[in-house]
Amino acid sequence: MSARRNLLATLLAALAAAVPAWAEDTAPRKPVNDIPQMHEEALAAGIDHSYTGPWEFFVGGGGASLDCNGDRRPDVFLAGGKGASGLYVNESAAGGDLRFAEKSLDLDAKDLANVLGAYALDIDNDGHRDLVLLRLGENIVLRGGPGCSFTKANRQLSLEGGRAWTTAFAATWEAGLKYPTLAFGNYVDRAAPGSPWGTCEDNVLARPQPGDRPDYSQPSALTPGYCALSMLFTDWNRSGTPSLRVTNDRQYYRGGEEQLWKVEPENPPRLYGKADGWQHLTIWGMGIAEGDIDGDGTPEYALTSMGDTKLQKLDDESDENRPVYTDVAWDKGATAHRPYTGGDLKPSTGWHSEFADFNNDGLLDLFIAKGNVEQMPDFAANDPDNLLIGQWDGSFAEGGDVAGIALPTKGRGAIVEDFNMDGMLDLLVVNRGQKASLFRNCGAVAGDLARPMGNFVGIELRQKDVNRDAVGALIYVKSGTQTYVRSVQVGGGHAAGHAGFVHVGVGTAERAEIRVKWPDGEWSAPYRVFANNFVIIGRDAPGAKYWYPAE
């Protein structure tokens, strides 16, 4: 009897060990590394801004960071939707509280309304970054000048801003061209019969015409358009020629899918198709993030959607001409498919996505802005933003609640920047119908206090004359056996992006060696730099220069 009982107990124990717990029973994995303490201080910092408006502004809600006054601190332009957009000049002291002062722009007020998003880049190579405003109606380019001055430059650029509902943008300098190629992603054509269903507007590719000034008078249509909500020029195969990745909203397209355009110089764009290995994928595509999370030399992509986020990695069947991707989001714990706190079990709605190293441990983290479209009953109403902390096994673990970003807001676009130049990435989230959130990264959560995190390097690239900010460059930062790769890009996220220092967390490394693959494919010499510094690397410069923020 006793023997039988023992046998039974053994069998039960064996069964218990053999049968895994259901996934739903498993407690969410917690990060084992630092979780940044993100302190919300938008109003105290002087940013009192909301993104508002009717149905057309359920999407969008972005902005751009750029240094518009030459002090290298990132200033911020925020889209206002139906309301006014705003420019906020960064007055934060190094390592201190965040401080911004709103600056009125000497522009026609109607040009600053109906703005859904913005990106910054120096189109005319004059050393001042310009702003591209994505609008409901005419898209506008604001030419940057000294002291955060901006003037409308559409006519100067021969850029016909169109009348579409523009929700995405990306730019690149194609080989041999002096000025950038601009891609505009459009949403629903509201005037088309049957709108909004199946009436996605074509996207636009505006290549500069030959000449000594930027001339965008001959744009071409990227057909078909499938209601793009984010686009990004990305060198997915490290060929040196970026392709245009577009994520599309299945809510309105018919027969659409995710898109990848092959954009070769002097050739019309061509869609990668099934014959190229491109796999049919339909999602409510909202945002694109690029990051080489596994250090294999090619980028992965986080695509936000309603429900689960996709995390795409090149498949074994891929090659340099075959963009075959596999989704590893589930394996990596990065689906972020429903709220992780607050008790709402309905699916999430993801918008801006961005890889960045918030805790400076050398591992990329993934931020996802979340928020119900408006009042969609089948999706979570209380849908906190995610801060998925990269783990050493290549997976992600949620740290948003501990970090303090799990607010009951409807996130849309976001700007990840080191606003107070302390080496730790801060976060600005544009919320629909609510005030923007501005989180200062105070350091790692340690009880009630914050402690310093890993080391970092801030990198600014400089070129002369053309493409001064080296858009399209790849930055390789090597410390120990690790190489961290960053791309200098304009586009992606959700209607929002940043320009300026490229942030790289390097963990416990005190030094790093930086090599740059410039946009034309030429490699730089290696530059040796000390961590916890901001450095400036000029094309062909003998050494990296160090920059120090005002104290």
Binding site: N33, G443, T508, E510, N533, A550
Partner: protein, 480 residues
């Protein structure tokens, strides 16, 4: 009165806590472990009394002299010797290896000449390699490493304090130059000098960019890193973290723990959290409070006379331009963790109340001379600056194969000469048996003084050696 009682109670509790978490307490006599209980960092706060500091030191001494075993966590089969936590793909054939390590059982295995905490002779040389490239190969081939002698640690706390103050001075100069350039809108050139040691110049541009092309003898971040022959280690704390891993496979949590590696057993030897933050603090406390070497007063009148002449010659031929007889130190308070360390070594802001080891609690510190400003004159015979020490004709000290941490192979930090009479052989490879030999090996920036030495008469050279031989680590003087 109440506060005073609380203060006393706190002090008593602190001492009791340190004593109650002994490294060797409750150990059976036959135990093969060194660490039976880790030192609790939470007990090490604020300015320690002499009793509390001595209690902590005693823990540090046990850790410094203990021959660690597998029972303690010795072994790093799946980690290299690298300072940045670096995994190894497969375990080495032999866990102990003279090049990539592990290469010793105890700190005192090498640091023992003339007493524990001292230097070591040639047989204690270590092989310095970053431990990143071809980790499986560099463990077998010394061409991928630099061979270095073991330095002594006496006066190391004073050295680190000097470095901290010099770093603060240099950085203040940088800040002032940048601020002035911003204010005036004009470039500002500033001389980098700390404690009278010239580190070149910087040029601050109005936009905050600093031209570091004129910086000499210090890293671009202007941190004086006073430890190792190369001058590339910031603090005793950092060096201790490094060395425990390299030499013993004992990994400190503050560098190799879960926070920075995702695992509590980064080296894969089956032991988690081998060295605690408190253990490192105890080791730092022990090293930082080692008294400095002394100057021997020979009883032999001939030696006295020769040394006196040699001291004058030392100055006359320019040795003292780098081997400065002393540098002034404003504060004897050794704060641990220190201000210059970076992630992976415990930093000041990572603890609520950093420990302060007041070196003036010790008679040897109080006996150090002071200048008219009241600064302690630390008799290090060094300048905490790096120099080119080899040239085309005199290249012996440029014999390394690898640059280290951005410092070229022919560049080394000025060796502090205090204790030099007790720590032969010489040179960064410990391969020069005599002082005469190492002086003759000086090239580069040391060439002029070296040539001056060779030009001296035999008697003058002999006097110089006689002087240097008075700079000793006196076992009686450093005993407590």
């Amino acid at each position: 009165m109440k506060a005073r009682c609380c203060s006393r109670a706190s002090l008593a509790a602190l001492i009791a806590a340190i004593l109650a978490s002994p490294v060797l307490a409750v150990a059976s006599p036959w135990s093969e472990k060194v660490i039976h209980e880790h030192v609790d960092q939470s007990t090490i706060n604020g300015t320690l009394s002499l009793e509390a500091l001595e209690a902590l030191r005693s823990k540090g001494e046990i850790l410094f002299t203990g021959r660690f075993t597998e029972a303690d966590g010795v072994g790093r089969p799946f980690a290299t010797q690298a300072i940045i936590p670096t995994k190894r793909k497969r375990a080495p054939e032999s866990p102990f290896f003279r090049t990539a390590g592990m290469d010793s059982n105890a700190c005192s295995g090498c640091h023992n000449q003339p007493v524990v905490g001292g230097a070591g002779d040639f047989v204690t040389n270590v092989f310095v390699s970053e431990g990143f490239e071809s980790a499986d190969f560099d463990s077998l081939d010394p061409q991928f490493s630099n061979e270095r002698g073991s330095n002594h640690l006496f006066g190391a706390g004073l050295i680190e304090l000097l470095a901290r103050e010099m770093t603060a001075e240099l950085r203040a100069i940088r800040s002032q130059a940048a601020a002035e350039a911003r204010r005036t809108g004009e470039p500002v050139t500033a001389s980098l000098a700390a404690k009278g040691v010239d580190f070149g110049t910087i040029v601050a541009a109005p936009d905050g960019v600093i031209d570091l092309g004129g910086v000499e003898g210090v890293d671009a971040d202007l941190v004086i890193r006073p430890f190792s022959q190369k001058g590339v280690m910031t603090s005793l704390r950092q060096f201790t973290d490094n060395a425990l891993n390299h030499h013993h496979g004992m990994q400190a949590s503050e560098r190799f723990g879960e926070r920075w590696t995702g695992t509590r057993d980064h080296d894969g030897d089956g032991h988690e959290d081998e060295i605690s933050v408190g253990d490192i603090s105890a080791l730092v406390a022990w090293q930082a409070t080692l008294p400095p070497p002394t100057v021997l007063r020979p009883t032999d009148p001939a030696w006295q006379a020769a040394a006196a002449n040699g001291s004058a010659t030392f100055e006359a031929i320019g040795c003292a331009e780098c081997h400065r007889s002393s540098l002034p130190l404003a504060s004897l308070e050794f704060v641990d963790p220190g201000p210059s360390d970076m992630a992976g070594t415990l930093r000041t802001a990572e603890v609520a109340d950093p420990a302060v080891y007041d070196l003036s609690l010790y008679a040897w510190a109080r006996a150090l001379p002071r200048n008219e400003k009241g600064d302690v004159l630390v008799p290090l015979f060094g300048d905490l600056k790096r120099h080119v020490i080899a040239d085309e004709q005199v290249a012996a000290l440029g014999n390394e194969l690898l640059a280290q941490r951005f410092v070229e192979r022919n560049v080394f930090m000025t060796s502090e000469l205090w204790g030099v009479g007790s720590t032969d052989p010489y040179g960064h490879r410990n391969d020069l048996p005599t002082l005469d030999g190492v002086i003759r090996a000086h090239g580069g920036e040391g060439r002029k003084a070296r040539d001056g030495y060779i030009a001296l008469s035999d008697a003058e050279r002999d006097g110089l050696i006689a002087f240097l031989r008075t700079l000793v680590i006196d076992p009686a003087a450093v005993a407590r």
